[in-house]
C-alpha cells in the first residue's frame, strides 16, 4: 500500500485530503506543521509527501530542506500544495527540488491523478 504524508495547518483541507486519499487506498499520515511532519518521518517512510508552505513554526521550505538532507528520504517524492501561486514562487519550489507543485485552490481529483502518475515513474 502506498503511503502519503499530508502536511497542512488548515484542518478542513487536511480533513478533505485525508478522506480523498484514504478512498484511493493510500495509507494517510497527517501533520499540522513542519515539526509534526518531521516527527512522523522519523518513524514512517511515505512514498510521497504533500507539503503546504505557509505554516506556523517550521514552514514548508524548512521542512523540505530537512527532508532533502536526510539520506533515508532521498527516494520520497515531495509535492508542494500551496496558496503561493506566483511564477517566482513556483520556480523557487522546483529549484529547491520538489517533484510537483500544486496551487490552492485545487481539484482533489486532479491531485490524486498527478500523485498516482508521479508514483509510477
Amino acid at each position: 500500500m502506498k503511503k502519503i504524508l499530508i502536511v497542512d495547518d488548515e484542518p478542513n483541507i487536511l480533513m478533505a485530503l485525508e478522506y480523498a486519499f484514504k478512498k484511493q487506498d493510500f495509507e494517510v499520515y497527517i501533520a499540522r506543521d513542519g515539526s509534526e511532519a518531521i516527527e512522523i518521518l522519523k518513524k514512517e517512510l511515505p512514498n510521497v509527501i504533500l507539503l503546504d508552505i505557509m505554516m506556523p513554526k517550521v514552514d514548508g521550505y524548512q521542512t523540505l530542506q530537512i527532508i532533502k538532507q536526510n539520506e533515508k528520504l532521498k527516494d520520497v517524492k515531495v509535492v508542494f500544495l500551496t496558496a503561493k501561486s506566483k511564477k517566482e514562487d513556483i520556480e523557487k519550489g522546483f529549484s529547491l527540488g520538489v517533484d510537483q507543485y500544486f496551487t490552492k485552490p485545487f481539484s482533489t481529483k486532479k491531485i490524486i491523478a498527478e500523485i498516482n502518475l508521479l508514483l509510477q515513474e
Binding site: 488548515e10 485530503l17 478522506y19 496558496a83 503561493k84
Partner: protein
Amino acid sequence: MSSFVLFAIIILYLALLFLIAFFAEKNKRSKWVNNPIIYTLSFGVYCSAWTYYGSIGEAAEQGVRFLAIYIGPIIAAPLWIILLRKVIRISKQHKISSLADFISLRYGKNRFLGALVTIVCLMAIVPYTSLQLKSVSETFEIMTQKSLMKSNSIFTDSTFYIALILAIFAAIFGTQTTDASQKRRGIIFSVAFESLIKWLFFIIIGIYCTYYLFDGTTDIVHQFKSQPNFESLVTLGGFEGGFNWFFTIMLSFIAIFLLPRQFQVAVLENNREKHLKTAIWLFPLYLLLFNIFVVFIAWAGKIRLGNEVNAEYFSLLLPLSEGNIFLAILVFLGGLSAVISMVIVSSLALSIMISNNLIIPYGFLSKFVKNEPEKNEKFIKNIRRFAIFFIIIVSYSLFYSFSAKMSLYSIGLIAFVIIAQLAPSFFIGLFWNRGSSKGAIIGIFSGLLITFFTLLVPFLLEANSLDPAFLKEGLFSIPAFKPHALLGIDFLTPPTHAFFWSFSVNTFCYVYFSLSSKGNYRERNYAEMFVDSKNFTDLQDSAFVWKGEAYVSDIKEVLMRFLGQEKATRALNIFFAKYNLPKNTQFADAKLIHFSEQLLTGSIGSASSKILIQSVVKEEEISLVEVLRILEESKEAIAKSKAFKEKSLELSNLANQLKEANLKLVEKDKQKDEFLDTVAHELKTPLTGIRATTELLLDDAEMPTPMKEQFLNNMLQDSERLSRLIHTILDFEKLSSEHHQLIKTTNDISKTIAKSIASLQTMAAKKNCTILQKSTYSVTINYDEDRMIQVFTNLIANAIKFVEPNEGLISIEYLFEDKQLKISVTDNGKGISEQDQEFIFDKFFQSKNQNTIKPIGTGLGLAICKQIIDKHQGTIWLDNSYTNGAKFHIKMPLN
C-alpha cells in the same frame, strides 16, 4: 657682611636656578611647566633692576612720574588679544625665531633689514645689560660695604664671575636645539620663578618700610610733607608734565612689545594662544602690586637717609641701616633675580638675532652648503653660544670701563627710545600692506640719527663731564638745532623729547617712502600674508607666490645640510602626503619652496633660508600686479572651494534623502506586496477547503452521513470565515485610508466597556469564562464609540480564545496616569510567547497558541485595534512583564 659669604649665597642661588631650569627641561610637557601662570610670570622679565632699584631713585627725585613706565604695558595688555595674538600666529606659522626675523620676513625676507634691526637691538640692549651688571656690582658693594671697583683686575671682581655664570646658563639652556623657533622651557620656567621671587621680596621690603619703619602710608606722607618739593613730587607738573607722561607711556607701550626679551617671552615662547587670556589681566595686576610700595620706600629713604646716598638703593640701605641683614639679603637676591632674568633672556634673544640675522646671512652661507649636517648644527649652535658670551662680555666691559654716573633709570629710557625706532615698521607693517622695506630702512635710520643727536651724544658727553658749545647753542650755533630743544620744543625731558622727534620723523619717513616706492613683489607677497594673516592662515603654503624652475632634488640637498637626511626626507614626505603628490615628484612648486624656506627659518633665519633656497632654484621675476592677482585668485579659490564643499554637502544630503525616500517606497511596495500575498493566502485557504470538500461530496455518493455532515459543517465554517475576512479587510483598508474620519463624541468609558462585554457574553459562556469590569466609575472623554467597542471586543475576544475552558478570567480596569486614561485588559490564559510578542500588532499575524482547534479570526484584529487607538492619538501595547497571562494596555489622551 663678608664678601665670601655673600658670594657663596649668590652661587647657591644660581645653583638653584640651574636645578629649576633642569627640572623644567626634563618635564617639558608637564602642567607645572606649561601653564598660563608661568607664561604670565615670564612677562615679569620686564621688571629688571631698573624697576627693582631704579624706580625708587626716580620716585625719590621726580615723584610719581616713574609710574608712566608701567602704565604703558597696562594699557597694552587688553590689546594683546588682537595684536599679540596676530604676531604669535604669524610667528608660529613662519617659524620665526626673533624680532629681527619677524620684521625682516614682513618686508620680504629682507636681509639688510634683519641685520639693521639686530644692530638697533644691540645698541639699545647692550648698554642696558651693562647697567644691570652695574647694579649687581653696586649692590654687592653696599652689602659688603667695600668698594669692589677699586680692584685692579676683573678677575677679582665677583660681578665678572656672576656675568660669566649667566652666560653659561644662557648658553646651556638657550641653545639646546638648532631650530631657534623651538621653545626653551628651562629658561622660561626659571624666569617665572625669578619674577615671583623679586616680586615677593619687593613687597616684603615695601611692607617693612611702610609698616615697620613707619606707621603706615599716612605716617610717611605726613612726615614727608615737610620736604620743600613735595608738591612737585605728587603731581604731573601741569601741561608740560602731561606731555612727558604721555610720551613716556607711549614709550613703555612700545617697549612691552618690542624689547627683545619681551618679544622672546611673549611671542616666541608662547605655547598656547589661550594663555594670553590669563596674561592680559594677571600681568597688569603683577605690575600694579609691584609698584604699590615704590613711592613709600623712596620717601621713607628720603626721610631716614636724606640726600647723601644713592636713592636707587634705598631698599637695601634702609634694612641695612636698621641692622636687618637678613632682609637686606632677601632684597639683594630679589634684585639679582631681576638682573639674571633680564640678562639671560636679552642675551639669548640677541644671540639668535646675531646668528640668524647678522652672521649667518652675511658670510657663512656658502660654507654651510658644503658642510655635513652634523657639522652645520654644531656650527650654528656655536655661533649662538659665542654671541651670548660676546654680549655679556661686552656689557661687562662697558660697565667696567665706563663707570660713569649713569643712572639705571636714564639708561633704561634711552634703551626704550632706541627700541621704539622699530615701532613704525613693526606696528604699521602689521596692518598696512603698502609698508615697504625702503620705508622701514629709511625710517629706522632717520629715527636713529635723531636719537643720537638729541639723546645719546649729549648724554655721553654730559656723563663724561664734557660740555661742548653746541649743546647749549645748537648745532652750527643755530638755536633751532639745540639737541634738547629741537625747533624750540623745550618743555620735554631729554628722553621724551628724543622720542617725540625720532618717532615722528621715523613714522613720516616710513609712510612717505613706502608710498613713493613701488616695492618688490616678494615684499608685497609677505605684506599681504602678514596684514591679512587670518585669511592667509587658511591658504597656508599656497599664499606664497613664486614662479620659476626648481628641482626637488636640489632643494632636498639643501634641506639635508641643515636637518640631516632623515629629517629632511621625513619633512618632504609629509609635504607630499599633504598635497597628494607622488613621492618621486621632480619639479618643485611655490608651495614646496615656501615650505622649505620655512623649514630652514628656525635654524638660520628667514633671510638666509631664502638665500639658500634661491641659490638652488631659478626664479623668474614676477610683476607686482601678477602677485596681487595670484593672491586674489588663491583667496577666491579658497572661497569657491568652500562654497563648493557646502554645495556638494547639500547635494549629498539630498541624495541621501532621496535614497531614504526610495527605500521607504520600496519598503512600502514590499509591504503592499506582502499584504496582497497574505490577503490572497487568507482568502484562498477557506476557498480551498470549500472547493475540495464540494468535490468530494459531489463525487462520493456513498459517503456516510456523519462524514457528510462534518464536511457540510466545514464548508459553512469556511464560508463564514471568508465573509468575515472580506468584511475585516475592507474595514482595515478603510481605517488605513487617510480620508477616514473618526466620529468622535463625548462618551463614558465605563458604559462603552460594559457594552463591549455584553456583546461577548455568548462567546464567553460557550467557554464558561468570566469577564469582569473592575473599574466602573464614569470617565467622560471624546472618542469614536463604535471604534472603541471594536477595540475592546477584539481584545476580549482574543482573550477568550486564549484562556482555558471553565477557568478563564478576563478583567478590564482603568485609572489615570500621566494625565491620560490607562485602560488594561488582562486574562489568565497562556499569554503570548516571547517570539510572538513583537509581531502581534502586525497585519495577518496569528498566534498558533490559540485554544481552539482552528484559529478563528482574520489576523487583522490587533492591527485594527492599533490603527484605531493611533487615530485617537493614544497608544496600545502588550505588557511583557506580565506573566500570568496576557495583559494589554491602552492609553488615551483626556481631551
